[in-house]
Structure formats: C-alpha cells, structure tokens
C-alpha cells in the first residue's frame, strides 16, 4: 500500500501570500508538494462555498491565507474575511466538518519561510488525520448509492 498523500488546496491572496509563496520558490526553500495554489485578488473574495466545493471535489485539507491585519492591499478585505472565517469555522464545527482540515494564516510577501512552514505543518496534520472519507462518502453518494 502506498502512503497516503494529502490533497490540499490553498486559496491565497494575490498581494501577500501568493508573493510569499513565490519567494519560497525563489529562495529555493523545499516544501511539501501536496498543495495546489489558487490565487485570488484578496482574502475578502474567497467565498466560503469555494472551501466546501474543494472538500466536495476530494480535497483532504485546505489552506486559506492572505495579508497580515493592517496590510491588506484593499485596506480591509482581510478584516472582513477574518470575521467570516470566525463565523464559518463555528458553523463547520457545529456540523462536524473537521475544522482541523482548514488552516488559516497570514503570510506576507516577505515570509517565504513561513509559507513553507504552513504548508509542511498542514500536510503533516492532514497526514495524521488521514483522507477525508466522511466527506467523500457524502459527496460520492450519487455514484455509489443512487437508485437504491
């Protein structure tokens, strides 16, 4: 049996974390390859539905990352996002969607090493949690159980 390789989607803002991840690369810092990065203008634009869709399509973990407080390119996008994350996280927790599978972080354009650390630690967390089979079972309902 091959070892479980977590599939992780990262939603990052264009101005800080994306640039930070770029710096990780140009600094030749090696980090886990399990992450697929999707770039957004701002964390304020990252709709919670995108996170749900990621799980629905088979992601085992998610990273959401943007500019540090007070550093938002649009002044307040990350402040709004933070409030939404607080509410969303509480709701997911009530529903039993494992909040440990979503890592939120602030990574600036200068924090290449922090990005590598976030990715590595998230991959480790998800590796310990294992594949998200509970969600997959619900998402794959139609293929498996329809017409019963």
């Amino acid at each position: 049996m091959t070892e479980f390789e977590p599939k992780i989607i990262a939603f990052v803002c264009n101005w800080c974390t994306y640039a930070g991840a770029d710096l990780t690369g140009t600094s030749r810092i090696k980090y886990a390859q399990n992450v697929k990065i999707i770039r957004f203008p701002c964390t304020g634009r990252i709709d919670f539905m995108l996170l749900l869709k990621s799980f629905g399509e088979g992601a085992d973990g998610i990273i959401v990352s943007g500019c540090h407080p007070n550093d938002c390119h649009y002044t307040s996008g990350n402040f709004h996002a933070r409030r939404r994350w607080i509410m969303f996280r509480g709701l997911l927790d009530l529903l039993g969607i494992d909040v440990r599978r979503i890592q939120y972080s602030w990574v600036s354009a200068a924090e290449g090493a922090k990005w590598a650390d976030i990715v590595n630690s998230t991959v480790n967390t998800i590796r310990e949690l294992g594949p998200y089979t509970e969600y997959e079972k619900v998402a794959g309902y139609l293929e498996k159980e329809a017409n019963q």
Binding site: F48, R83, W85, G90, L95
Partner: protein, 266 residues
C-alpha cells in the same frame, strides 16, 4: 383586539395605508396571514399566541407591494425583522406603518425605527436554555459522529425551500441556489447538496438572523435548521459582543474591528 381593529380601520379609512398585513383565522385551529384592504374587513383581524408566522416576510414580496402602502401587525419577532430590514436598507420609515404588539398584548405605535430599537432594547433576543443544551450536546460528540448526525438530520430535506421562503431576511430576488453560472448548490436533493444548501443558508444569515424561527416553523419535514442559526447567533455574541439588529452599527459580517480576536489563524 378591538383596539387593533379600530386602528386598522382608521388607517384604511384615512387612506394612510392601503393594506393591513395581519393575522386572521385559518383552517382548523391555525391562524394565517391576511391582507385587509377594506375597512369593513378589519373585523377579521385577530391576535393570540397562535400567531407565530413572521409577517415581515410579506413586506418585500412583489405581489404584496402591489397592494400599496402597508400597515403591519408586529409582535416582537416581526419588529426585529423590520428593524433588520431597515438596517439593510430594504425599508424606510415612510414605507410602512408599524402596529407593534407587546408580549402583554398591548398595541404600540412606532413612528420611527429608532423607537422600535429602543423598545427592543428591553426585549432582547434570548436563546432558550433548551437550545443551548442541545447545541452543547451536539458539540460534545466526536467530530465524525457529529457529521453523521447532521447528514442524517438533513437527509429528509427535499429542497422545497420553505425555510428560505418563510424567512423575512431571504428577500433576494435571485437566490444563490437559483444561480447556475456557476452552479454553487446542486439543484437535486441529496446528502451533499442538502449539506451545502443549509451551510449556505446559515452563512448568508450569519449576523443577520433575528431568531424568529420562521424557517423551522415552515419546514414541512421538521428539520431543526434553526439550531444552525441559533448557534451562530451565540458565536456572534461570543466573538463580537451583542447580537440583534441595531441602526447604529452595521451587520456583523458587513463590518469589522481591527482588533477582532480569534485563536486559529497562524
């Protein structure tokens, strides 16, 4: 209720309003929303403990708007909804006449939304202890069990959208579930689609919900969807201070503080 009837009559006769949205006798032991346009019909207005439907939902419906300026019979849950609609710029003071009803069944006129807010300050939303208890019990379950619990609870949902239709704050003319480019939520009812729909519904009400329970009352299948919004209401309280609509401040998710606290962002 003679006072209510007389007030309604006077409003219609003076043409101050063209319709009174109130409660009337329904089938069996039920009550229902009625729309009185003739002063002679005002006798049909009633109010008692069975009148739980949130009438504020009709304030934004096009079919009702066509009837003209309304007066609305407003017990506390309706007042809260009116205030929230005002906060969200869906109503102005000129749009409606509010016939408030206190828990002691007294009729109170509200000339301004500020008066409604002042009145509601003494009638704050209280989440009943029994709900706190249920939410505590659910949260105490191991995460996988909790997930299984909700998947099973939401299973009977056949997406009739009665919860959405009955909610005074679901006034969007085109809901996200009706959008298909992209298709955020599956149209058919199945476990994933149901889960996504109820998360979306709760999230879109986060910091706006006034805990009127119209969604739960409307659900034909008796799904406890109000637990989601109640829990979120508590989250608003715990993270951002008080909950409930206020003309002074914006909705929770329309605003922020630079020093909002959280413990999970790295």
């Amino acid at each position: 209720m003679i006072e209510l009837i007389n007030k309604a009559k006077a409003l219609l006769e003076s043409n101050a309003v063209q319709v009174v949205i109130g409660y009337g006798k329904g089938t069996s032991n039920r009550t229902r929303a009625i729309f009185v346009t003739q002063s002679d019909d005002c006798d049909k207005l009633i109010f008692d403990s069975r009148c739980v439907q949130n009438l504020a939902v009709y304030l934004t419906k096009s079919e009702i708007k066509k009837l003209g300026k309304p007066a609305i019979v407003a017990p506390i849950p309706v007042l809260r909804s009116i205030l929230e609609l005002a906060v969200e710029n869906q109503l102005t003071e000129n749009d409606i006449v509010v016939l408030g009803i206190t828990p002691e069944s007294e009729i109170v006129d509200f000339d301004t939304f500020a008066n409604i807010e002042a009145f509601l300050a003494t009638h704050k939303i209280v989440i009943e202890e029994k709900y706190h208890e249920i939410i505590r019990l659910i949260k105490a379950m191991p995460v996988a069990e909790r997930f299984a619990y909700w998947v099973k609870e939401l299973e009977p949902c056949f997406k009739c959208y009665a919860c959405r239709a009955a909610c005074p704050l679901c006034y969007c003319t085109r809901c996200t579930v009706d959008d298909n480019q992209p298709q955020w939520i599956s149209v058919p009812s199945h476990p994933l689609g149901n889960l996504e729909w109820h998360i979306m519904r709760a999230m879109h009400l986060a910091g706006r919900c006034t805990d009127c329970e119209a969604c739960f009352n409307a659900c034909p299948m008796g799904i406890p969807i109000h637990l989601l919004t109640k829990s979120m209401l508590q989250d608003v309280n715990d993270n951002f201070g008080s909950y409930g609509p206020s003309l002074e401040k914006q909705n929770t998710l329309s605003s922020y503080k630079p020093d909002d606290k959280e413990s999970f962002i790295r």
